[in-house]
């Protein structure tokens, strides 16, 4: 191990990165673009669902019911139809995702035998929005139902009142239910994993492909020196990306930051070590840039995006998939980040996650170091 050789190696790598300022710029801009898109465009709260109504009854009562749909922010009545065929056409064309159909004799049924039915036809090809939309429309109809019951009691002099239950939700940690706040930790993890593993996965593969590996092998530089020297510049880039993401999240998007910066940066360094070693390992194994890139994509993009609990809750996945997530570093990192940003809980609650992350880091560093053989294949 020679400090001088490591510095020389890192210097060469930095020169190579700096010689391509466009790539460097893109790497620093990617997190920004991702954050802004997630911040401004992605909205998981379903509101203003386009709604069509088809009122076959056409009475005061049926209009009353439909007004209840109009009054909420969850639905936007986009068109009023007058045949069943139109309902089918509008849903097929995607003009509306819900159609409320009031059957003929709705008012009469309600007044004569008390039972009346309304139909909600949903375009469930988007099952998530359909589920949420179904919940909203159920709530609206039930409110309407209990309102007419109160009127009905008054007419008959029954005094059962309107016993109803209201929930006072107190949402902790992310009080306004902003998707942004809980997506940020995921975006940070995602960007770091991808930048880290992607870039490093290309560095050794490039040396093989260009034939400069032979030159590198003939120098007295040791394999650990190559590893540290090659990874160090990318480590810096990764940390810069983290700082940019966290800074923008907190100062631009007002995502709360309740934990300590020390924990954030400490854990980010651990996570970066993991992904950089992973990328290094891939690039040593793959030997072609195309192969390395595909493998890096599979090893980072997928786990951080899908299995880390960033978008989809882990406890809702099938048990087998839940087991797989136990070995994923991104899972622990996302959980730590959520804590640091939103919960700000004490360090003792994070010990488990940090320990798991550290263990994985050690494993990957060892794996990466052992995989690299300093000889021609």
């Amino acid at each position: 191990m020679s400090w001088r050789r490591i510095v020389a190696m890192a210097h060469k790598e930095i020169l190579q990165i700096l010689r391509d300022p466009r790539s460097l710029l893109v790497i620093l801009v990617i997190p920004l673009v991702q954050l802004f898109i997630f911040g401004y465009a992605v909205n998981l709260d379903v509101k203003h669902i386009p709604l069509c109504v088809y009122d076959q009854d056409g009475t005061q009562t049926s209009q009353d019911l439909l007004k209840h749909f109009q009054a909420t922010e969850y639905f936007n009545i986009v068109s009023v139809l007058d045949s069943y065929k139109d309902v089918v056409r509008n849903i097929d064309h995607g003009v509306c995702s819900i159609a409320v159909v009031v059957p003929p004799q709705f008012a009469e049924d309600l007044h004569s035998n008390g039972q009346a039915k309304v139909q909600a036809i949903l375009d469930a090809s988007d099952s998530n929005s359909a589920t949420i939309g179904m919940g909203y429309s159920q709530a609206i109809v039930q409110t309407y139902s209990s309102e007419i019951q109160v009127d009905w009691q008054q007419e008959r002099g029954i005094s059962a009142g309107a016993p109803n239950i209201t929930f006072e939700p107190r949402t902790w940690f992310n009080e306004d239910l902003e998707s942004m706040a809980d997506l940020v930790p995921g975006v940070v993890a995602f960007v770091m994993a991808v930048v880290g593993a992607f870039l490093t996965s290309l560095t050794i593969a490039r040396e093989w492909e260009r034939g400069t590996m032979e030159q590198l092998i003939s120098t007295p530089v040791g394999k650990l020196e190559i590893q540290i020297g090659k990874l160090f510049p990318y480590f810096l880039i990764g940390m810069a990306d983290t700082a940019i993401c966290a800074g923008i999240a907190v100062w631009w998007f007002d995502v709360p930051f309740r934990g300590s910066w020390l924990v954030l940066f400490g854990c980010s360094m651990l996570f970066l070590t993991v992904v950089l070693s992973l990328g290094y390992f891939i690039s040593v194994t793959a030997k072609s840039q195309l192969g390395a890139c595909q493998m890096a994509l599979l090893a980072t993009f997928l786990p951080t995006f899908l299995l880390s609990g960033f978008l989809f809750p882990i406890d809702q996945m099938p048990v087998v998939v839940q087991w797989i997530t136990v070995v994923l570093p991104a899972r622990y990192y996302v959980s730590i980040l959520r804590n640091v940003f939103l919960k700000g809980s004490e360090l003792r609650l994070l010990v488990g996650d940090i320990a798991a992350l550290a263990a994985i880091a050690v494993l990957f560093v060892v794996l990466a170091t052992r995989s690299f053989k300093k000889r021609l294949a």
């Binding site: 790539s23 465009a41 469930a124 179904m134 709530a139 059962a160 309107a162 109803n164 239950i165 978008l311």
Partner: protein, 370 residues
């Protein structure tokens, strides 16, 4: 030229695996892991009222498949601790006086504490909570009226909503995600392959060799794209089969329309990939640039979050995104079973995008040599 590209792409078994393996693995993981539904969310209950009514309400929660009452606690701070540790997501606090208010015909309130560090789960769970609560209140009211005036109970006016979820009757997440995943995987595969296509030749120095042969510009482009196009078609067919036979997603539309949609989309992706690769000098550059484009395209495609919830600016922007069109086309063909009469505007926009991209990349190609 064609033959050379084919041989080069399929030469080593490693690369061959990379063309199909990752797509398959991602398809499976997506199919299983990507779910927005929530079931059996663990709930802690603090019942300070302890009456028949409050127990009844709790049993309504326990009976619904959305919630799982995992713990009864005696003090308020136990809820705080449990949510901090992640033992449960929701705490329900019923204050004393709950039953008294209901018996007086008044509204009673229940406090709900939700761990909203995942806002989507919190939102869906809150929706279910109020649904369960509303059902409870309705039943309770009908019961009371029955007791107060037994003869009129048959005539209590009640409106019920019948739900007809079309196209995906079981509201299965897989049906929703699988067609979208198909589009996304195609995009990533094609962008990756093409991003490397031209640049690799340049980096290894074989581009000059190709240039001294009598091959024409468009011949070179076709030679480069056709193999990728065929690989893309093969992958799309493979993933569609997995989608229909493994995940049980119905194919309700015509298979020819599906094939047409996929092919037009592949051309659009190829065009974009080629254009980007003419802009780059090294493979690393080209890959980063490709990534820079694929990520936002995927986020804004309506694949994971509905386009109708986006701000108007992004909704308009998404018209220029071929992925948005193909996701819509795939979903429509698989689940809705509609045909070209409805999908032609999306097809046309994609075709226009493809034509534009391919033309520009042919024109740019010569310049990029100098």
């Amino acid at each position: 030229m064609l033959k050379k590209e084919f041989i080069q792409t399929l030469r080593d078994p490693h690369t061959r695996w990379l063309l199909f393996g990752p797509a398959l693995i991602q398809m499976f993981i997506f199919g299983y892991a990507a779910t927005m539904e929530i079931k059996h969310v663990s709930v802690a209950v603090l019942d300070q009222d302890n009456t028949q009514e409050s127990r009844e309400l709790v049993s309504h929660f326990a009976a619904s498949r959305y919630f799982h009452v995992s713990k009864y606690v005696a003090r308020r701070d136990e809820i705080r601790d449990g949510i901090d540790r992640g033992d449960f997501l929701i705490g329900i606090e019923i204050d004393s006086g709950f039953a008294q208010r209901l018996r007086g015909g008044q509204g009673a309130s229940v406090q709900v504490i939700v761990d909203s560090s995942n806002s989507n789960t919190a939102l869906v769970a809150l929706g279910y909570l109020s649904q369960v609560g509303a059902t409870f209140a309705q039943n309770y009211q009908v019961d009371r009226i029955q007791r107060l005036s037994p003869q009129s109970v048959l005539f209590i006016p009640q409106v019920t909503l019948e739900e007809r979820p079309w196209f995906n009757e079981g509201l299965l997440s897989e049906w929703y995600f699988v067609p979208g995943v198909l589009g996304n995987l195609m995009l990533i595969l094609i962008m990756n392959l093409t991003a490397f296509a031209v640049v690799r030749e340049r980096e290894i120095g074989t581009l000059e060799q190709v240039m001294v042969t009598p091959i024409r510009r468009w011949e070179f482009i076709i030679g480069k794209t056709v193999p990728f196009f065929l690989i893309g078609c093969f992958d799309a067919a493979m993933l569609s089969l997995v989608g229909t036979f493994w995940f049980g997603v119905p194919l309700r539309g015509h298979i020819a329309v599906l094939a047409l949609g996929v092919m037009v989309f592949l051309l659009a992706a190829l065009g974009l990939g080629l254009l980007l690769s003419t802009l780059a000098v090294t493979q690393q550059q080209s890959m980063i640039t490709a990534f820079f484009f694929t990520m936002p395209m995927s986020t804004l495609s309506g694949f994971g979050s509905p386009i109708s919830s986006m701000p108007p600016f992004f909704q308009k922007l998404s018209y220029f995104n071929p992925l948005r069109h193909v996701v819509l086309i795939l979903r429509s063909i698989f689940l809705k079973g509609v045909g070209l009469d409805i999908l032609w505007p999306n097809m046309l926009l994609m075709a226009g995008f493809a034509a534009l991209m391919l033309t520009v990349s042919i024109l740019r190609f010569r310049k990029s040599l100098e």
